[in-house]
Amino acid sequence: MRLNSYKKSVALAASLVFAAVGLSAQAAHAAPTTINLYEAIGYAPDEIKAFNASQSTYQVVDVGGSTGPLLAKVAAEGTNPQWGLFWADGDTWAAAADTNGNLAPLNFKPAYSSLGKRLAPKNNSYAITGSTVMVAGLYNAATLPTPPATLPAMLRSKYKGQIGMNDPNISGPTYPFIAGLMNQLGSEDAGKNFLLALKKNGLAVNDKNGPTIHALEIGQIKMGLVQNTAALAEIIKFKANPVKGFNPQIVYPGRPTLMPSSLAIDGKRSAAEIAGAQAFVKFVLSTAGQAILASTDATVNSDVLCYPSITGTTPNKYVPALPTAYQIIDPYTWGPLQSEVDAWFTANIRTK
């Protein structure tokens, strides 16, 4: 009796162990590989939702935020990164990560359009998902009928105190604008001299797009140098609810810079996670992934107002034609200069 009871107990324990092992094995088999996507792109959650619904092998998890804090998070994680994918505006961060050997290159050739090909890195180390223009001159046509259309024109006395821009230390997309300025004027020093001259002509510096555009709304300035998606969002808003005395329009002084949005894969993840990340990138650049750009409401999600980088993608209905003249800067050249240029901006332009 006692032995029987002992045997029963052993049998019960054994079956429980086998059941647990079996269940965990089943669970392990069924559990999808999880990949964290650090993103600062407004339509990324829609892409994640569509990707996760399209297959069951991988599960992309959203970690949304602003570009600056997300890059700080990645830097703080140091040699023990927790991100599998990173997606944000700009490509200097991606180029820096590539230079440090932190990225897993794409294992496929995206069907880039001619614009996409010009923006994409030659070594295919990260994907270009679209691009925006840095900067657009958003001006109030009701009070400034003839805005400056060239860089030298912005220095004319008739525009004194009428132009505003963002601070590159706070507004991420503003550094590509400054780097582009330096690129088209021929050197870093020429760009700095131009900004000093602009400051002498009464340049107003606000933190980022929102405050610069508000300064335009209230008449503090007559033209704000902002990201084109912010400018387009403002125009959409005022077309829906027109306001007398305020007629926002866009001009591109000089040759504005096309700023790509980059999607990169952490090269230090496991093979399974990298495979999942590759699948996600492929999905974002696929017809289904690109369709989200056109179908998303741009009035509450301005990131879809980008220029697509993939052949055959229909842009959002609010996206205008590309500027007639634009430039693309090399992130591997201009990226490493950012800290020095930003510090110079603080000391010479932002400070009184």
Binding site: S66, A72, G78, N169, A204, P211, Q220, T229, A230, V243
Partner: protein, 592 residues
């Protein structure tokens, strides 16, 4: 029976074996509340802060550079421009702290010690004031005074005021206004524990009302300094207000350098850490000032015999004057952020009442279905409930340490790290957490707490602990320890004595500290943004993401709805306390 050494031993008592050194060690280690407290303080405050600061000297320690030891991170800090920025931060901190303390003290006296008719308005709105984010306060001021703003449209010439607002005066004022609700809660808590006997003694000896007020203010010193210390630390760690209000003519503050390091590509943590060390030097100055003012004095006025206070009956003129003061202060502290919120979330048009505007709730009805509202708000509420409970428990112990009669090392240690946690901007604090809890060897030990709700709750608790502790310091400093001693002499265990003796005296301040923490955590952004578990964004991150997508109306609407939700929770908590708490718990602050 046996003879043993000449003694008759009736029953041989078996000797237990000599305990091994290991067993002795086990027996010596007792899990006491203080042991738990010090362990938690070490892991949630001390280590994250120290690891972040260490990067200034040793970037390689946290994989932030190649050097094991360098002082090059301090190069920007020793520039003349940074010295001026640091001086600006110090001055702003002092003005905001002293200003907030004076206004809060006067308001506490009017509300708790007089029959001013408008005092009920203040009491019912105090938590709304506390919840008003500095973003809405600054926005409200801007909308009023900006070019073609509301006041200009109404025909007022506000150019001189505007010039003042967009600069150091405006920054000090907004930070002071932001600090008033906290200072009021701290001072009012302490004033409730101050019986009338001291003021009566002054009056009996021929002192006038002012002399009595001075004595009362002296007895409130610990709470006054507590309030000032937190407002000072909050002000020197500010970046958003200073940056917003100095956009026209840049007014530099120390945190600008710190954020420059964090926002650069590649991120430059060593420079940010060096900047943080200078901010902590300012904190040490604040602690030294506090210790000098409070040294060698006793403020233990709260006992079982504390007398209910008599309300001062104001004359008609007094009632009119005090009510005007309260209403004007409410208009400034609450009216302006409410205006900011309306202007940003309900105004269709330019958002500045320029012309052709309509006011409606379309943003509110739209965001009710937003993915940034429902689940994030539920998650933030759960985290805030946990944080508030944990933080109040720890704060009760921390405030006891802080009010210890002796100026011990442990007191100085806790004081410094609590203020340091406030003086360091939230983003720095969160980075310290990533440094600490994402270390590979910690993961190898099987501890994977980075990216979990558990770590977020710990970080929230550490973030809230300074203000929660300081809100209790005034009351804890008033409690006469002889009451606890008496309870222990009569056989009560320590925990039981605390519940029976101390708890009734500080029940209301504990409730207020709990609500303070709950409200402060619900909309906390920097720590949330860096530490939230993947896939579970708190509501503050949702608001940030809405604003980042240029949906200013939607983002502000979510913010306003979250504030209203927090006020509902505050209301429920007060209702439950008034309805169910034992009568003895509600006695403190009774009036005659």
């Amino acid at each position: 029976m046996a003879l043993d050494g000449g003694l008759i031993v009736r029953d041989r008592v078996p000797f237990s074996k000599e305990p091994s050194p290991y067993t002795r060690l086990i027996h010596r280690v007792r899990i006491t509340p203080m042991a738990v407290f010090w362990t938690l303080i070490t892991f949630i405050l001390v280590i994250p802060i120290l690891l972040f600061l260490s990067v200034a000297f040793s970037p390689r320690l946290m994989s932030q550079g190649h050097q094991w030891f360098t002082l090059s991170s301090f190069k920007p800090v020793f520039s003349g421009a940074y010295g001026i920025a640091l001086l600006h931060s110090l001055i702003i901190g002092i003005i905001a702290a002293v200003g907030a303390m004076i206004v809060a003290l006067s308001m506490a006296w009017l509300v708790l010690r007089t029959n001013s008719p408008a005092r009920i308005l203040w009491n019912t709105t105090i938590f709304a004031l506390f919840l008003a984010p500095s973003y809405l306060i600054a926005l409200g001021w801007q909308r009023l005074f900006e070019q073609r703003g509301v006041l200009e449209i109404m025909g007022f010439s506000v150019t001189p005021i505007r010039n003042l607002l967009y600069g150091p005066v405006g920054i000090c004022m907004v930070l002071m206004v932001k600090g008033i609700p906290f200072a009021y809660l701290v001072i009012a808590n302490a004033m409730r524990g101050l019986g009338e006997e001291f003021e009566q003694a002054v009056r009996v000896h021929g002192g006038n009302r002012f002399a009595a007020f001075k004595v009362m203010a002296s007895l409130l010193m610990p709470s006054l300094f507590s309030a000032m210390a937190i407002v000072f630390a909050e002000a020197i760690s500010d970046f958003g207000v200073a940056s917003t209000l100095s956009s026209v003519g840049h007014f530099s503050v120390a945190t600008y350098q710190l954020y420059q390091g964090i926002n650069s590509i590649p991120v430059n943590f060593p420079v940010s850490a060096a900047t943080s060390i200078t901010l902590l030097a300012l904190v040490i100055l604040a602690i030294l000032a506090q210790n000098r003012a409070l040294r060698g004095r006793s403020f233990r006025t709260l006992s079982g015999r504390t007398r209910p206070v008599t309300i001062a009956k104001l004359s008609f003129l007094g009632k009119f004057g005090s009510s005007t003061y309260i209403v004007v202060l409410l208009l400034i502290t609450l009216g302006i952020p409410v205006f900011g919120a309306i202007s940003a979330s309900m105004l269709q048009g330019l958002g500045s009442l320029l012309s052709h505007y309509t006011i409606n709730f379309s943003n509110y009805s739209r965001v009710l279905h937003s993915r940034f509202l429902r689940n994030p708000l539920i998650y933030s509420t759960e985290m805030s409930l946990i944080t508030a409970t944990l933080a109040v428990g720890l704060a009760a112990i921390a405030s006891k340490v802080l009010t210890s009669a002796r100026n011990t090392r442990s007191k100085k240690f806790v004081d410094f790290f609590l203020l340091a946690a406030v003086a360091l901007p939230g983003i720095v604090f969160a980075i310290g957490y990533i440094f600490t809890y994402n270390l590979k060897f910690i993961n190898d030990l099987g501890l994977h707490i980075y990216g979990t709700s558990f770590l977020l709750a710990l970080a929230y608790t550490a973030n809230a602990l300074p203000s929660t502790s300081r809100s209790l310091v005034g009351n804890m400093g008033q409690i006469q320890e002889s009451m606890m001693d008496a309870a222990r002499v009569h056989g009560s265990a320590a925990a039981r004595a605390w519940v029976d003796v101390t708890m009734p005296l500080i029940a209301r301040p504990l409730l207020i500290a709990w609500l303070l923490t709950f409200s402060g955590t619900l909309l906390e952004l920097p720590v949330s943004e860096l530490l939230y578990p993947p896939g579970s964004p708190p509501v503050a991150v949702g608001i940030e993401l809405s604003l980042a997508g240029f949906d200013y109306g939607g983002g502000t609407a979510i913010e306003v709805l979250s504030i209203l939700w927090a006020l509902v929770v505050v209301g429920i908590a007060f209702f439950l306390f008034n309805r169910f708490a034992p009568p003895g718990w509600k006695r403190l602050g009774n009036q005659r």
